[in-house]
Symmetry: C2
Subunit: 406 residues, 2 copies
C-alpha cells in the first residue's frame, strides 16, 4: 500500500546514510516525502581518514564536514540524537530523546570495534572509531612525549606505540605515525631512536589477502621509516602499562602506554539488538538492499552483508557509497509507488592503502598494481572524488587533499 | 693573588648567568681567562615567558634560545651538565658527570618551586618551572579537553583549572588561559561556559603590593574573560582529583585534574646544600655581588638577596639582567688584577604584568600607571629589548614579540 507523503527516515550520516540523503534531497520533491536524517553529531566524518587524525598528521576539522554544508536543511529534517533501538514491526525508531515513525527506513549505523574478548582491550587500548576517539589518540601520544622528560626515571613505555592489526587501518595508521613521530621527537627533544612503532598482526603477513608484491613493498617502505612488524603473533592481553602477545607458543610482553586496536570491527550492535535476522550482527540484504524480512527497511554500509562468491565484501567506504545509489533509487521508487527495484552491483574501483602522506600501494582497475607517488596521487584523488560527489567543487576544495608533491 | 689565565666558571644560563657570559666573551680576551659556562640544557629559556608556553599561547621554541646562537663557542667552553654541589673551600664544582676547578665562580642557578609543605602539592600540582614542565601543562590541558567527550559520564574536573597564587606568574598565566580556553573549546567541541579558570590567592587581593587601581583593572579585565578569583583563601591540600582551600574558616573542595602552583619560588637548593651563608636559601651578597665569605664567588639572580629598604628585591629577570653588568664588570676587574669593584645599583624600569596577549597593566618610569594596549606594547617592547641586548637584532627579530595589533 502506497502512503501519501511517506516518512523516509535515514539512520546515520556516514558514507552510506549521508550519500543516500544527499541523493534523495535532489531526486525527491518536497511534497513527495518527509525526509528525516538522524545522526549523533551535527557533522559527518570520513572514517577512512581517521587514522590521520589519530596520528596527528591532519587536523580533525579536515576529516569532518558539518552536515549543514551538504544537507539541504529546508528539505531534510535533521535530528541530532542517538539511536537506541529500531522496532521494525511497529515501524518506529527509539532515540535517546524522542521516537520517530517511519514508512521507509534506511539503516546506515556503521561499525563498532570488535575486541573478540581479548582481556583488557576495552579498558586499556585506544580505538580509531570516530572524531573523539581519534583526536584523543593524537593527544595521548603527545601527552606521553611531553611527560617523558618530566620524570626522573625515563619510562620507555611512553615511547613504545603498539598497533594491533596489520589490516588496512593498522597499516595506514603506522604509515602516518612514521611521518608524525619525527615531528613529535623534535617538539619534545626526544631521540628518535628511542621511539618504537610496533605493528602486531596475527596472520603470517600484513595486509592479508593483498598481492604479495604489494605487501612486500609496503613492509619495506614502512620498515625503512622505523616501523617494526611482529607477524604471526596474537594479542593476548592489554594491561594498563603493557601488552602481551603470543608468537610461536611464547608469550612476550612489551611495555607501552599506547596500544591502538585496529584489528576488528563489527556492525553496530543496535542491528542485532533490534531483532533483525543477522549473520554475525550484519543483515544479509536482498539484491535491492532491503532486509530479508521487511519490505520497508534498507540496510547500507557496514551493517549490510553481501556475498562476493564465498566471502563477504569487506566493509569499505567504496561499497557504502556505491550502495547509496541503489538505496536512493529504490527508496524513490517505493515513494513513487513503483515496484521494480534496482539490484546492487559492486564495481570495484581498486583498493589503495596509504603508507603515510607520500607513499601508498594498491591495485586499480583491471588489477593493475601501483606503488609510490602514483598510488599516493590516486589515493588522494579518490578521496577528493568522494568530496566532489558529496558536496561539489566547493567542498572538495575546502576539505580535499592537494599535497601531492611533498 | 692574581692567577694567570684564570678559570672563570659560570653556573647556569638563565638571565643572570647568560648575560654575564655574553658580556665577558666580549670584554675579555681569549688569553686573559678560560670562561666555562655550565648549563643543564643546551638552550636558554625565558622564564618570564613560560606561562605563555604553559597556556599554549606561544610555542616553547619561541621561549627558548639555543646557547650556540648567543654564546661564542670558540671563546667559551660550554659544559652541558647538572650541578650537584659547589665546594667553595676547595674551589671546585661537582657536576653529575665531572668536576670543575675555578678561580672565579658566578652562581646563577635560579629558582625552584617552594611548596611550603602543603600536602599533595608536589605530587599533584603542576609548576611553571622550565620548558619541560611548561609544555607538559599545555599538553595536560589539551589532554583533558580531548578526554572529555570520550567518557560516558562527563567529568567536570577535566574542565576546572585551578591556579594557586595571584602574584605575577599566576595572574599572567590566567590571562593567557583566558585567551587559550576558547580555542581549546572550539578544538574539542566543548561549551565554553563549562570551563572554569579559578585563581586562588591567600592575600585579600591579587597582585599584592601593586597599585590598587591597577589591581582593580586587572581583575576586571580577567573576570570579563571568565576568570574567577577566590582571594583571602589558602590552599590546604592538593589531591589527585581536587584541591581544598580554606576561606573564612571554611574548607571548600574543587574537583580538578589541573592545579598549577604559581605561588612560591625559592633559590636553587644547591646554594644552601653547598654551605653558603644564607637567608632562607639565598646569599645576601655584598654590594659588589660577591658572597660574604668568598672573594672569588659571585652570586646573581634568584640565588642572590639584596635589601631594598626593609624588604628584599623580588626575584625578577630585570634585576638579574642588571646585576649581570656589575658581575661581568667585577669578574673582568678581578681577572685583570684590579681591586676596585663596582657596586650594584638597581634602576627600576617599571613593572608590567600581561593579562593575555592584548592587555596588560603596570607602572613605568616615575611610577606612571599604564593599562591596556599601551601597557601591552611596553611589555612586548621590554621583552624584545632583552633579546636585542642578548643576541642583537637578529635574535630579536627571530624570537621577539611583534603581535602588537591583535
Amino acid at each position: 500500500m502506497r502512503v501519501k507523503n511517506p516518512n523516509v527516515v535515514i539512520l546515520g550520516a556516514g558514507y552510506g546514510g549521508l550519500m543516500t540523503t544527499v541523493k534523495l534531497q535532489k531526486s525527491l520533491g518536497v511534497n513527495e516525502a518527509n525526509i528525516t536524517l538522524v545522526n549523533k553529531n551535527d557533522y559527518h566524518y570520513q572514517t577512512t581518514w581517521l587514522h590521520e587524525t589519530a596520528a596527528g598528521t591532519i587536523h580533525h576539522d579536515q576529516t569532518r564536514i558539518p552536515l549543514k554544508d551538504v544537507v539541504n536543511m529546508s528539505k531534510v529534517n535533521f535530528v541530532q540524537d542517538t539511536v537506541v533501538e529500531i522496532k521494525p514491526d511497529e515501524k518506529k525508531v527509539k532515540l535517546e530523546n524522542s521516537e520517530l515513525d517511519y514508512d521507509i527506513l534506511v539503516v546506515g549505523l556503521g561499525f563498532e570495534p570488535a575486541t573478540f574478548g581479548i582481556p583488557g582491550l576495552e579498558e586499556n587500548a585506544f580505538m580509531i572509531n570516530d572524531i573523539n576517539s581519534s583526536r584523543l589518540i593524537r593527544e595521548h601520544l603527545e601527552h606521553n612525549f611531553a611527560m617523558y622528560h618530566n620524570e626522573e626515571e625515563k619510562n620507555p613505555a611512553r615511547l613504545n606505540i603498539v598497533v594491533g592489526g596489520g589490516g588496512f587501518t593498522g597499516i595506514e595508521f603506522v604509515g602516518e605515525l612514521a611521518n608524525r613521530i619525527p615531528e613529535l621527537c623534535e617538539e619534545y627533544d626526544i631521540d628518535k631512536a628511542q621511539v618504537r612503532i610496533i605493528n602486531v598482526e596475527g596472520a603470517p603477513t600484513v595486509l592479508p589477502g593483498f598481492d604479495p608484491e604489494l605487501v612486500e613493498y609496503a613492509m619495506n617502505s614502512l620498515e625503512a621509516r622505523g616501523v617494526e612488524f611482529i607477524t604471526g603473533a596474537l594479542l593476548k592481553e592489554a594491561k594498563p602499562e603493557s601488552i602481551v602477545y603470543e608468537k610461536d607458543g611464547k608469550q612476550v610482553e612489551i611495555p607501552t602506554l599506547t596500544t591502538v586496536w585496529a584489528a576488528g570491527v563489527r556492525a553496530n550492535s543496535i542491528v542485532e539488538k533490534s531483532g533483525f535476522e543477522n549473520n554475525r550482527g550484519k543483515v544479509e540484504v536482498r539484491k535491492d538492499m532491503r532486509a530479508p524480512e521487511y519490505d520497508d527497511v534498507f540496510v547500507i554500509g557496514d551493517c549490510a552483508l553481501i556475498w562476493n562468491g564465498e566471502r563477504p565484501f569487506p566493509p569499505t567506504a567504496q561499497i557504502a557509497i556505491q550502495q547509496s545509489a541503489t538505496v536512493a533509487h529504490n527508496v524513490k521508487a517505493l515513494v513513487q509507488g513503483h515496484t521494480d527495484l534496482e539490484s546492487f552491483e559492486f564495481n570495484s574501483l581498486g583498493t589503495l592503502a596509504s603508507l603515510g602522506h607520500n607513499d601508498a600501494v594498491g591495485v586499480i582497475m583491471n588489477d593493475r598494481k601501483i606503488f609510490g607517488w602514483k598510488a599516493t596521487f590516486m589515493k588522494k584523488m579518490s578521496d577528493n572524488r568522494y568530496l566532489l560527489k558529496l558536496g561539489g567543487v566547493g567542498l572538495m576544495l575546502k576539505k580535499g587533499k592537494f599535497n601531492f608533491f611533498y
